[in-house]
Symmetry: C2
Subunit: 428 residues, 2 copies
Amino acid sequence: MNLTEQMTQLAKHAKAASRQLAQLTTAEKNACLLAMATALEQSADAIKAANALDMEFGTQSGLSSAMLDRLKLDDKRIAGMARGLREVAVLPDPVGKILDERVRPNGLKLQKISTPIGVVVIIYESRPNVTADAASLCFKSGNATILRGGKEALNSNLIIAQTMIDAGKIAHRQFPEHAIQVVPTPDREAIPILLSLTQYVDLCMPRGGESLIRAVTECSKVPVIKHYKGVCHIFVDADADLQMAEEITMNAKVQRPGVCNAAETLLVDKAVAEKFLPVIGEKLFAKHVELRADDATREVLNSKLKIQNLKLRAVTEQDYFTEYNDYILNVRVVDGVRAAIDHINHYGSAHSDSIVTRDEAHAQQFLAEVDSAAVYWNASTRFTDGGEFGMGAEIGISTDKIGARGPMGLDELTSYKWLGIGSGQVRT
Amino acid sequence: MNLTEQMTQLAKHAKAASRQLAQLTTAEKNACLLAMATALEQSADAIKAANALDMEFGTQSGLSSAMLDRLKLDDKRIAGMARGLREVAVLPDPVGKILDERVRPNGLKLQKISTPIGVVVIIYESRPNVTADAASLCFKSGNATILRGGKEALNSNLIIAQTMIDAGKIAHRQFPEHAIQVVPTPDREAIPILLSLTQYVDLCMPRGGESLIRAVTECSKVPVIKHYKGVCHIFVDADADLQMAEEITMNAKVQRPGVCNAAETLLVDKAVAEKFLPVIGEKLFAKHVELRADDATREVLNSKLKIQNLKLRAVTEQDYFTEYNDYILNVRVVDGVRAAIDHINHYGSAHSDSIVTRDEAHAQQFLAEVDSAAVYWNASTRFTDGGEFGMGAEIGISTDKIGARGPMGLDELTSYKWLGIGSGQVRT
């Protein structure tokens, strides 16, 4: 069987499994998830053995220690996967919700009902625990999943998926064995083939670096939901509570700089620049944050701050587009909320942006006109997260506008259909 | 300016216009729509003159009389466009709806709010009235639109759009002149270029024949919402009210065979085949419907019906996949609801399918397991339509699962964003 045939069979099996999955009750799905959790714990030794092969190969092929750390599975991480599955089991079933209901004048009753999407391809990088997380969320939402992790984690991913399938089959005899599949080859050509099979695959969700996501989006014929990057902003308005602005800025930049909802650019209204910049500058320098600042900002900082070895340099236009994921922050002085909104809509990534202000009109304008998945007023951008939003679990974050936008939990893994219940109505 | 530069400028202008559109109030948008309606009526002579050029060119280039009829604009059709715009003006604004609301334990208030999508490309065939309809629905939902009609209608489309823009600018001085744009060239290469501009274009909706839609979907890098075809089914269950089944089948097939929600295949449970098929066969033959039937159906019809010149032939597997848009119907005898569902999910187009039965368990199984945009119980498939669904107007029908599914009205032309309203919350 060549690669095209192999991928076609995988996708066809997934589609068939998705039909069977749609017939499982909530209780049946939950029982399977709990059985899978127990099975992962009970199979810890086998999982660690498979993972050791990946680790050995990774070490030989010169993976960085950070990559090797992400790849490693130990008892704690296996327990974490099992806990994740148990958490998904207790979440409400997102399928079968009545989203809208109406009775037409002719008596035809219409119901808009949430349904599974069908077959979801998840493409991700090194962490093998994503295999269990993504598979469990897709399973709970009635979707068959095709998982494509990093090639360095293939043995780990295969055994995690197989353990879950075996447990599912024991827990429920109608469990479709192709509900969870791992692409069994590291061949890069598998992805474009899989993502051309529009008759079987309903959605692709790539997770990882921007280049991976761009490559997937470029080749895919099936819908893709993704975010390329998180270039998030804090705008300190003329009427901001500066103490609050300081706390929010620090939280958004340094609490966890490596994540997509961390801030990359601080915009400060010129009315408060002289007062706010020295204060925040000092705090950021104390946390070893490098500032890339416009002329106005550097003028204020250079004149007011007496710190040695300032990590301060001139910002470039390219910097404003850049997600650092690091202790680096762009700073720009802007003339009013209009200029802040325009900066964000132009340079941002439509992910998460926040205004700090006491002025309700400014806040409302910012909330309305910033064209991002999540827009905050007097809160940190770091809240854009499925858990923080109360979704219970997150499979990803979308900056797209078709389908889910913002954090994606179980509800965001559903589609809908219309049911029309009549008593013989015909159209005249 | 070469074609790429020209399309890039068009898309860039549309994106800028979409930002301005998002700032218009409902009253402002409605005033513009009413002014546009009046302007179309007042410009009837100019519109007819432009249309005459298209008609002349169409006649010279040998368009069929059906094509020419679709292309023609007369006073009645112009009045119809104006009426359409007035109807859109009175529909509720789909933007700014609170779709979900929650307060997190830390006091952060989250609101999920409907928003415009942004820039929508509409690709369609010959009817120039689609220009006014599509532009008005996109405008009301706050989207900038780029319209690409048939090349044979270019003069008509250009003048309709220009008339609407001019009226909009008089009605409201902040009306963005690039809110409605017609691709000004018939060059086929314009489409792939436009649909590669993911930084500006948010959605493409192709409308028309399957080959057009496949070509668009194949080349597009932006999300596409569409339906390829409508292969709709009526399933007459063992426990059907046969009188009702007859009325629904006739309505679904012959009331308007040329539309996507008309039935192409009739599935009959073997338990009622002998009783139902002769009755429905006679009715269908009386309406000159050709039947393409399986062996079991032909056996019954040939033995029970004494009609001369039966339009009856053996069905092929390919027929089951075919949208006839004509007085042709496939007929197949199936063994129970399970077999009917499997047939529909395999051969259908996920558009609209109906079960006729008094058996609630069968109906519920059919409604749950048929994986189509609209699934009916004891009603005609012909109801899948924005107007019939109470949406007020329809821009298209989707058989996709990401974004809108089923008939698309104003609400289906929106996306959403999350607003987070805090009092200084930071993440710990």
